[in-house]
């Protein structure tokens, strides 16, 4: 297989699947309550019609095609259709408001856009006055679209394509032949943690190469089932649901709607699964909440067997030795608890699951592994096709991200930054030669911007963003992300923002987790009216203080980081939100922006005040704005004397 993929492009991979195994399922989508299947041959035919339709409408080689919407089969197919014509698909985050679209649409000089539904069409039309190039808009779901002028339905586009194909039968194949592996295959925008998003241009060969090494590494076959539910604009989804789909030829399954993902997961039972830690965490929180409400006998059973699993589950999964007694208990547990639990989570068939995108809590990670879900970590970014390091079966650790993928070189710079070289590197940032030159050095190493090191077993360990790693006034190392992640490992804390660079101590803003704390409050009979109210309760402060102090106790034992214990914190009166620019679309905290926006609060934290009044403008989902006001209490947390690591060890 490796050899035959030389010189491949994605449209040719599709043609190959259609020719060699055309009757095998390629895509499924649940529609009107029933899973509909398209075979590779059908997908190839749709893509052909689509490509011809776009060509008939004037789409040419080198042009960009914006793709916006939830994971719909037709949107995935549009990517290959554009590629077949030598065009470049540009998937975008579907939940962004029109104003944010305008920037990316302009940056990419979008003239053609394929969007999911009325909601996205409305956003396109709203952005259009600021985007002079935007001319052609195609929509998949016709609902509510009767009275729109100047936009075309997907069905109509296919019709146009089929007519064009009949008139020019050789057109598609000729175009397909023109494609070269080093053509740009996709442009993915970075989430813009710092500054404006940048368009990352990847070629067919780099993405195919990245996909191929992943497929070989985990021995993925054409029989895998994948649930495609992560944003199509995210590099992770592009790798798992598009590149590896094309390379391995497995089946991707599109959920019925964003709300039904859990049900769809259970119905499909994917064998290969990818999710950011947040999703694993939400799943576990749901299970825990439901267990709290279960009968005493069930609770006992659950507690008892999760303890057994904690003791030996991970070892058994890794094929390491475990006492016979534990093995027997685990087998019973598997029958009574783990099996049914995996089934409820939709993870019965999972062979390989990956998590990436953020640090995962050790308890969370161990939990899934202990109940028999082969959860692993990987490391990568948009610029590296999400394929730098992978954890091999049997070499799993919660605090590292695995060894470099074959063919990829990883080096640690003197300042601790992780440098990467290999075939999966980006070609360039679009229209930003300065940024390209800045991030790829003379030796061809890409500067990831992450700080990390190799541990004793040769696995890469990421601590933080290199530029975020600072120093406290005392000179001790300060890695805010590291502290924030530790805080967020508590189910009660949803977001945390740590401050301390060039200051004498570390302080933090905290967002409580509404689901988890809300349930906690309900069980105690505590009434509350909403987030702001709940967050201000003294009982909640006590709860969060315990979480913070637990983290402090852990940090005290971590040598250089002992000075980073959180001295003072407050619980924010509103949830940090991408709509208010406080988080990126991938839900990473924009620390500097938050620090500026809440400067009063920051001053209060460091100024020793006990209470601070704040009023904040918020944007609601319907675009209106309102004001949230509160008097925030600032709490002190206990800090622990640093434990001498050598002595403790």
């Amino acid at each position: 297989m490796a050899n035959s993929d030389q010189g491949m492009t994605f449209p040719r991979l599709l043609a190959k699947h259609a020719a060699e195994r055309g009757d095998r399922p390629a895509t499924r989508e649940k529609d009107l309550g029933i899973w509909q299947t398209w075979t590779w041959a059908q997908v190839a035919a749709e893509v052909r019609a689509l490509a011809c339709g776009l060509a008939a409408q004037g789409f040419r080689r080198g042009m960009h095609l914006a793709i916006i919407g939830d994971n719909r089969p037709r949107l995935y197919w549009s990517m290959t259709a554009a590629q077949a014509l030598g065009g470049i698909p540009v998937p975008m985050y579907q939940d962004a408001p029109a104003a944010e679209f305008a920037y990316v649409l302009n940056d990419a000089e979008i003239a053609y856009a394929v969007v999911e539904d009325q909601e996205q069409v409305d956003k396109m039309l709203e952005a259009k006055p600021q985007v002079p190039t935007l001319e052609h808009i195609y929509y998949d779901d016709p609902r509510g679209m009767r009275n729109y002028d100047g936009v075309t339905s997907f069905d109509r586009l296919l019709e146009i394509g089929r007519e064009f194909d009949r008139a020019h039968p050789d057109f598609f194949d000729t175009e397909l032949e023109k494609g070269r592996p080093d053509d740009v295959s996709v442009m993915l925008y970075t989430s813009g943690t710092t500054g404006k998003p940048k368009g990352v241009r990847q070629t067919h060969s780099s993405f195919i190469d990245a996909a191929r090494s992943g497929v070989a590494f985990d021995r993925l076959t054409s029989d895998e089932d994948v649930l495609s539910y992560l944003p199509m604009a995210w590099v992770g989804d592009h790798l798992f649901s598009f590149a590896q789909w094309m390379v391995a030829g497995f089946t991707i399954n599109c959920p019925e709607s964003a709300e039904t993902v859990m049900t769809d997961l259970r119905e499909i039972g994917p064998t290969y699964y990818f999710a950011p830690p947040r999703i694993f965490e939400n799943l576990l929180t749901q299970v825990m909440i439901r267990m709290e409400d279960a009968s005493a006998a069930k609770r006992w059973l659950f507690r008892h067997f999760t303890d057994v699993a904690k003791r030996c589950g991970a070892e058994i999964l890794d094929g390491k030795p475990a006492p016979l007694g534990d093995r027997i208990l685990y087998a019973i547990g598997n029958l009574l608890v783990y099996g049914p639990l995996r089934n409820v989570l939709g993870m019965s068939r999972i062979r390989i699951a990956y998590t990436a995108g953020a640090a995962i809590g050790p308890d969370l990670f161990r939990f899934y592994r202990s109940i028999g879900v082969n959860l692993k970590q990987l490391y990568g970014s948009t610029e590296t096709c999400a394929a730098v390091c992978l954890q091999a079966d049997g070499e799993i650790k919660f605090d590292s991200v695995g060894k470099p993928v074959p063919g990829v070189e990883v080096r640690i710079a003197d300042n601790g930054e992780v440098l990467v070289r290999g075939p999966m590197l980006l070609k360039e940032y679009y229209k930003r030669p300065d940024a390209t030159a800045e991030s790829i050095d003379a030796e061809g190493y890409f500067h990831t911007g992450d700080a990390g090191f190799f541990d004793e077993s040769g696995q890469l360990k990421i601590i933080d963003r290199a530029k975020d790693v600072g120093k406290l006034a005392s000179g001790a190392m300060f890695a805010p992300n590291y502290i924030e992640n530790k805080l967020k490992f508590s189910p009660h804390i949803r977001e945390a923002v740590a401050f301390g660079s060039n200051r004498e101590k570390v302080c933090a803003f905290i967002n409580i987790d509404m689901g988890s704390v809300g349930n906690w409050a309900e069980r105690r009979g505590m009434p509350y009216s909403g987030y702001t109210d709940l967050a201000a309760k003294p009982e909640v402060y006590t709860l969060i203080r315990e979480c913070v102090e637990k983290v402090n106790a852990e940090l005290a034992g971590e040598g250089a980081l002992a000075a980073s214990q959180v001295h003072r914190f407050l619980i924010l009166h509103k949830e940090l939100d991408p709509d208010d620019d406080e988080l990126t679309r991938t839900r990473k905290v924009r620390r500097n922006f938050v620090a500026e926006k809440y400067a009063v609060l920051l001053d209060a934290l460091y100024g020793g005040k006990g209470v601070q009044h704040i009023e904040t403008q918020v944007k609601f989902e319907d675009g209106r704005t309102g004001v949230v006001a509160a008097d925030l209490v600032i709490a002190e947390a206990k800090v622990f004397p640093a434990v001498d690591v050598r002595k403790a060890a």
Partner: protein
């Protein structure tokens, strides 16, 4: 928004309808009409007789005086069963769903009139019953898709929040494929976002299926935004009738809502 939806002839005509409960006159000589494909709102302060009027159209209440003409047929009383058979469906102010049944089953009950199979056939699920079940389920799935409630398909209605229950009730009414839909305060008790969703659904139903809609609503913003014509009741009497703009400028209506100095 209403460019392609053409409002047709009068389909429902109420002529001098009077209804009283003992000494209480709920409606006094009300006349009004509903045209094909339009969204017709009934507004008025509490106790104005809005729900009574809907109940008269639907055949739950029988007026003492007046006539109702529906699609050319003149009569004094409607009755709920035959109105349903004639294509009139409704939702209720205080949700009337089967709390213990799933959303899907609740909506399926809306298809009851379309089923011909006998009780026995349905019990053993053979022949006609099986085929009908498939057909009806397909139609129900379309409604589920239309109202975007796929994620709660199998959830018992009693476990759903209020806003979603309202939507399920609308789904059940739609499952009957009505030509005239009566909505009794579809947006009461909803937050802004839920109201917006509901407005969109009402407009979409009207546009996509061409369903004529009569709705009672308290939220003036909603009424003025989505309805073609509005009838205003106060103490059982009609005090205004016309387009939203006409009604807005009507002095009697302003007085009824804001009160007058006596």
């Amino acid at each position: 928004m209403t460019a392609q939806r053409s409002i047709g002839d009068v389909v429902l005509q109420l002529d001098r309808i009077s209804l009283s409960f003992g000494g209480v006159r709920a409606l006094t000589a009300i006349s009004c009409d509903v045209r094909e494909h339009e969204i017709r709102a009934i507004i008025g302060p509490n106790g104005a007789g809005k729900s009574s009027m809907l109940n008269v159209i639907n055949g739950v209440y029988h007026p003492q005086e007046g006539t109702i003409t529906f699609r050319g047929e003149v009569r004094r009383d409607m009755n709920p069963h035959s109105t349903a058979a004639q294509g009139i469906a409704r939702t209720f102010q205080n949700i009337a769903l089967f709390k213990g049944m799933s959303v899907l089953d609740n909506i399926m009950t809306g298809r009851n009139l379309k089923m011909r199979a006998t009780f026995l056939e349905q019990a053993i699920h053979v022949g006609r019953a099986r085929r009908e079940e498939l057909e009806n389920r397909h139609r129900v799935e379309e409604v589920i898709d239309f109202l975007e409630i796929q994620h709660i398909r199998k959830t018992p209605v009693g476990r759903l929040p209020y806003g979603l229950q309202k939507r399920v009730e609308l789904a059940r009414a739609l499952a009957a494929e009505p030509s005239l839909l009566l909505l009794d305060e579809p947006m009461a008790g909803m937050n802004v976002e839920e109201k917006q969703d509901m407005c969109r659904f009402v407009l979409d139903v009207n546009e996509q299926y061409g369903t004529t809609i009569v709705l009672i609503e308290h939220d003036m913003g909603v009424v003025m935004d989505i309805s073609d014509r509005v009838v205003v009741l106060d103490y059982g009497k009609k005090i205004g009738d016309g387009t939203p703009d006409e009604v807005r400028g009507n002095q009697a209506v302003i007085d009824a809502y804001l009160g007058v100095a006596h």
